[in-house]
């Protein structure tokens, strides 16, 4: 008994791990029925894998049997691997017992498509219902929307899930067609749109009627695989930008392709996953979402790919030296956010603190500004008088010399955010 469940878990966790989303944030569920669980608005990582990724959810497939043959996917029909399927009760039991021990924030349930989309979606829905209704479980549930499933099923699932997601897989339609001819972005857009409309509708109803049930309270997300097909960073981020705008997505994930086959249409086995590139894409994503940058400012026809050696915020700054130096004691918050070496927290502290008097270098350092980086772009109360007007390229050279070991290593795949 225990051997079989161990084997299933190994197979179905292994097959699920290429979906990089592990966020448990955005949930609003409270434990108000004296049941078990609640969600923490900012999410909790309960552990980290040895590759440094957050583990907050039990991320598994219901089954890795699949009728499709997407080339980039380990579960594809033609792949010669061990197959397994959980029963609904097994998933419920694992989730509850992991949750009670504080191993996890919740469940991330996805599945290969067996028989057909509705059959698969029904099983996923059943897991959610059992958890919510029988176990009185209020922990986090991230559910994959199965493309092609009926709207009734998707809508019902939305009543139990906190987040739903459906993956674009490849950043462009052309890329997708190359590796998964049976699929198209339209298959993804339709359910994304449907769920989004319902989220809006439920929110509208809530204004009028008090007891409207929650509907996908943590919103939707999607994932693109990076580096399997030849898109530019511009292609990738313009797609991301459009999906953020059109479907109010909470997150877009960028998953550096980890080679899983020797098919000539993709990077072959043994190729390193493009981790640095992935990191730069996430940085760009953050600049768009939290720093007020338009995607066109960072990526455009003149700059279709992100710099490898420096982060995109610094790149933008040295291409736009006409905006600098910025006076820390006068500039508005939006401009302060754009200074390399200053993050959101420091920017907020600066605008609060300067009301009490002009800020000096030592104060900026204490506030948390990366001064060695920021100094090229700012003036403050005691900035040394600068005679020379440095060019962007010179500043880049100074900064890189200064942070040689930290930023330049090409095997550096940490997510350093400015």
């Amino acid at each position: 008994m225990s051997d079989r469940i161990r084997e299933k878990l190994n197979i179905l966790a292994d097959a699920a791990k290429y979906d990089v989303s592990c966020s448990s944030s955005g949930g609003t569920r409270k434990n108000d029925n004296k049941g078990i669980g609640d969600s923490h608005s900012s999410g909790i990582c309960h552990t980290y894998t040895e590759d440094g990724r957050c583990v907050s959810l039990l991320k598994i497939l219901l089954t890795n049997h699949c009728i499709y043959d997407c080339l980039f996917c380990v579960s594809r029909k033609s792949n010669d691997i061990k197959r397994a399927a959980f029963t609904v009760d097994e998933v419920v039991d694992l989730t509850m017992n992991f949750y009670r021990r504080n191993y996890i924030e919740g469940l991330f349930l996805s599945s290969g498509i067996f028989k057909n989309a509705d059959f698969t979606m029904e099983r996923l829905l059943l897991v959610c219902k059992k958890l919510r209704l029988e176990q009185r479980y209020n922990g986090y549930i991230h559910l994959k929307t199965i493309p092609g499933a009926s709207e009734e099923l998707i809508k019902e699932a939305g009543l139990y899930a906190d987040r739903m997601s459906i993956n674009l897989e490849m950043p462009t339609e052309a890329g997708l067609k190359l590796l998964a001819p049976e699929k198209s972005h339209a298959d993804v857009i339709k359910p994304l749109e449907f769920v989004q409309q319902n989220i809006v509708q439920f929110a509208e109803d809530k204004k009028l009627i008090k007891h409207v049930p929650k509907f996908v309270p943590a919103g939707q997300s999607t994932q693109m695989v990076i580096g399997a097909t030849p898109e530019s960073d511009k292609d990738i981020m313009y797609t991301a930008n459009a999906f953020y705008k059109n479907f109010s997505l909470k997150r877009v994930y960028y998953s550096g392709y980890v080679p899983i086959s020797n098919d000539s249409r993709m990077p072959i086995l043994g190729t390193q996953p493009p981790l640095l590139r992935e990191n730069r894409l996430y940085q760009t994503d953050w600049l768009m979402r939290f720093y007020g940058f338009k995607v066109q400012e960072i990526l455009n026809d003149a700059n279709p790919n992100l710099d490898v050696d420096i982060d995109p915020k610094l790149s933008w700054a040295i291409r736009n030296m006409q905006h600098f130096p910025v006076d820390i004691n006068k500039a508005d918050y939006k401009m302060i956010l754009r200074i390399p070496g200053i993050g959101v927290m420091s920017a907020k502290k600066i605008v609060q603190a300067r009301k009490f008097g002009k800020l000096r270098i030592d104060q900026l350092k204490k506030i948390g500004v990366a001064y060695n980086r920021a100094k090229h772009f700012i003036t403050c109360a005691d900035s040394p008088y600068q005679i020379k007007d440095y060019q962007g390229t010179q500043i880049k050279a100074f900064i890189m010399a200064d942070s040689q070991s930290k930023y330049l290593k090409t095997d550096n795949n940490q997510l350093i955010l400015f």
């Binding site: 878990l9 791990k17 980290y48 590759d51 440094g52 039990l58 504080n102 980890v258 609060q352």
Partner: protein, 254 residues
């Protein structure tokens, strides 16, 4: 001038009261135990007084927004001797300034408190994340910890709200007290470990019969979720510093 107090919050707040009563000029607050008397500095022993402490706290509540009240409390829970002095100076600064003075990140005490509080909040968050309960034979979910700071008061509500339908105990081995939730309320408890030494985990004989299975499944899961091609030990260690491994079921050898 040096004020001496016993390390309690009441003592700290009383010290602020006494300072305003006497206005002795520049004063440093220190723990009684650490203080080495010398011939040149005058010292004053603060006698704890609930009423005085209460008045100071009420005053701070009027002057500070909720988030700064919490910053103050968290800094206190850090139990760092220098933090006590910063808290003392901060309180004086706040009372002597207009409302809103806590936003002055150019002030040393403001910055110091926000740093202490950040460390304490991080430890709180880590405990909420890294605690692993073990289920005992009588259905109790048990864990013991020895956090860097005194975070039990901060994590109590989180666990109470989340695990409302199971009994649990979280025991701080370093500070020798714990929390017990009995399905209704959380109470402070102390345990006499019979063997005297640290015995953080109940013996396997006392465990629920399925405890071992779920621990094994969790370890399996942890291994399966890893992508070998992305291995990044440095990042891993940054997120889960080694000193926390002892809490983690998935980091124990099979």
């Amino acid at each position: 001038m040096i004020y001496l107090f016993d390390g309690s919050l009441t003592g700290l707040l009383t010290a602020v009261f006494e300072w305003f009563e006497r206005k002795p000029g520049r004063t440093y607050l220190q723990l009684t135990g650490i203080f080495q008397p010398d011939a040149f500095t005058e010292s004053f022993e603060v006698i704890n007084n609930e009423d005085k402490a209460d008045r100071v706290w009420k005053g701070l509540q009027k002057k500070l927004k909720k988030d700064w009240q919490r910053t103050f409390y968290c800094s206190y829970l850090s139990e760092i001797p220098e933090a006590f002095n910063h808290l003392f100076q901060f309180a004086i600064y706040i009372f002597e300034s207009e409302i809103g003075a806590a936003a002055n990140y150019g002030n040393d005490h403001v910055v110091a408190l926000s740093k202490y509080a950040k460390s304490v909040e991080r430890e709180k968050h880590r405990m909420e994340a890294f605690i692993r309960f073990q289920k005992t034979g009588d259905g109790m979910f048990y864990t013991s910890i020895d956090p860097d700071f005194n975070v039990l008061p901060l994590i109590s509500n989180h666990f109470k709200n989340r695990y409302a339908d199971q009994q649990w105990v979280i025991y701080d081995l370093k500070r020798k007290y714990g929390l017990h939730y009995d399905l209704n309320t959380v109470e402070e408890i102390t345990i006499n470990f019979s063997d005297g030494a640290k015995s953080p985990n109940p013996s396997p004989a006392l465990m629920d019969e399925k405890e071992e299975l779920y621990a094994v499944l969790w370890k399996d899961y942890f291994k399966s979720a890893n992508i070998v091609a992305r291995k990044n030990t440095k990042l891993h260690l940054q997120h889960v510093p080694k000193r926390y491994w002892k809490y983690l079921t998935e980091k124990q050898l099979a």
